[in-house]
Symmetry: C2
Subunit: 275 residues, 2 copies
């Protein structure tokens, strides 16, 4: 049996999340349906992890076993032709037999996007949180630094979390300013030290608890608003108490950005299949 791995991007807007659920539209369900149409086989797909309803992915990784003969360099084009437009397979690999998308990642990166502007951007409204008042980007960046390292993230986990340990290691936790938006003249004095612009919060770690990035995002927004100070992030972290952090931020601004499996695929990307 071959072990096929795929990098999959999807717009999660219209889905009840990654994982198959009876009676729900899911990413996994659509992938398995397309694989059935393509191969005639009932194939079970493993994802690197679930994403919640409304959450997107730029680089979700899945794997599955099959004895179908479709060459790896033709697989992406063939499956994309059978998937809805909001799910796109970006690359396909012949994975080692022992590879399993869920068990093997060295790290996962999530991105949470915020547009801090007077009015929403109609073209990105489904992929970013609109925050109408300015935020202190520098304070937010400072607050995020406290999360780097190995910590018990109980304060940033949904009470629905079923994990026995809440200890995770965060390798990277940073704010990227994509664009700064100008203030109007009459406006700046109201918001000393604050900015408007499009920002992204990247969090890279060895694992994540349920709702963890969305709770971090909501808490760092409170820092940006001046309702919390950067050092409050450290205080909230050591409290190990969910009620100390902010309520969970909206799902539509979150994307599973990238996964790192080290050298497992070698460095052989799929060769292109255009003629």
């Amino acid at each position: 049996m071959r072990n096929i791995a795929m990098i999959v991007s999807y717009d999660g807007t219209n889905y009840s999340g990654f994982q198959s659920q009876p009676g729900c539209l899911t990413i996994q369900g659509e992938l398995e349906k397309a694989l059935f149409v393509l191969t005639g086989q009932h194939i079970r797909v493993n994802g690197s992890g679930r994403t919640d309803a409304g959450v997107h992915a730029k680089g979700q990784v899945i794997n599955f076993r099959t004895d179908c003969g479709i060459p790896v360099e033709r697989f992406a084009l063939a499956i994309n032709a059978r998937l809805p437009g909001d799910i796109v397979v970006q690359s396909v690999y012949e994975a080692p037999q022992e590879f399993h998308a869920r068990h093997d990642p060295k790290s996962k990166t999530y991105r949470y996007s915020i547009l801090c502007s007077r009015f929403a951007d109609v073209f990105r409204r489904k992929y970013e949180l609109h925050h109408p008042t300015p935020l202190d980007f520098a304070a937010m960046a400072k607050g995020l630094e406290h999360l780097i390292g190995e910590h018990d993230f109980s304060s940033f986990a949904s009470p629905k979390s079923t994990k026995s340990s809440h200890v995770r290691t965060i390798y990277e936790c940073r704010l990227e300013v994509e664009t700064l938006l100008p203030f109007e003249d009459t406006d700046a004095w109201r918001y000393p030290g604050k900015q408007r612009g499009r920002i992204h919060l990247y969090v890279k770690g060895n694992g994540f608890l349920y709702n963890m990035v969305r709770i971090i995002a909501a808490t760092v927004i409170l820092i940006g608003e001046g309702k919390l100070s950067p050092s409050d992030m450290a205080r909230i972290l050591v409290a190990k108490d969910r009620s100390q952090a902010a309520p969970t931020a909206a799902p539509h601004a979150l994307s599973l950005w990238a996964l790192d499996y080290g050298e497992v695929f070698g460095d052989k990307p799929e060769t292109p299949d255009e003629a």
Copy 2:
């Protein structure tokens, strides 16, 4: 009576175009509905021009007359609260009495966006054309130069055009490369002189014929594919024959980008209304 002008952005995906049509969902219809809910008045809106079904706008301009007392600095927030999420008023001006959105623009700019990559970007698929094989960006840019100036654009007008003259002046016609995408090793030799990446075609002129930008976009893609040479653009232009140019490109990659009315509003943007 006040004369109110607004800059409006919209995602045209779910609309039958800008202009009101009985039984159709239109941008004008939604704006007039929101103005009715807000003011209790049946207000007729003038747009700078129609946009076709599926075409977007970053900076459409509209104006309308009203005796409602809503201050200009509160108007955007008030109307946005009554509009669907895919139509967003970006700014509101108290316009001079003689201002009319359709009659007054000095220039209009359209943008046509193309993602030249193996697979589509799920997050921008509704706003750009996906072109799977590489294109010669330099040849495309060269071809576009032939369109700058005053010309008869009959070759680039839908036969449905009802305009008596097809002479228009194009001030700017250029290709912007937003990002270049890397080629894989095995790939580059197949496409000498061609690139992959996200590109935008900007066309700025004193007026446009029906489907003009979409026909220009489709023709310049043929140049990028090597099926036409840059100088063919000049040949097609002088032919004044629609059948010489390429079939009309898809509407979803086109946006009405900006309008220039000169100094008509002075330089007073709406003051922000956050507290």
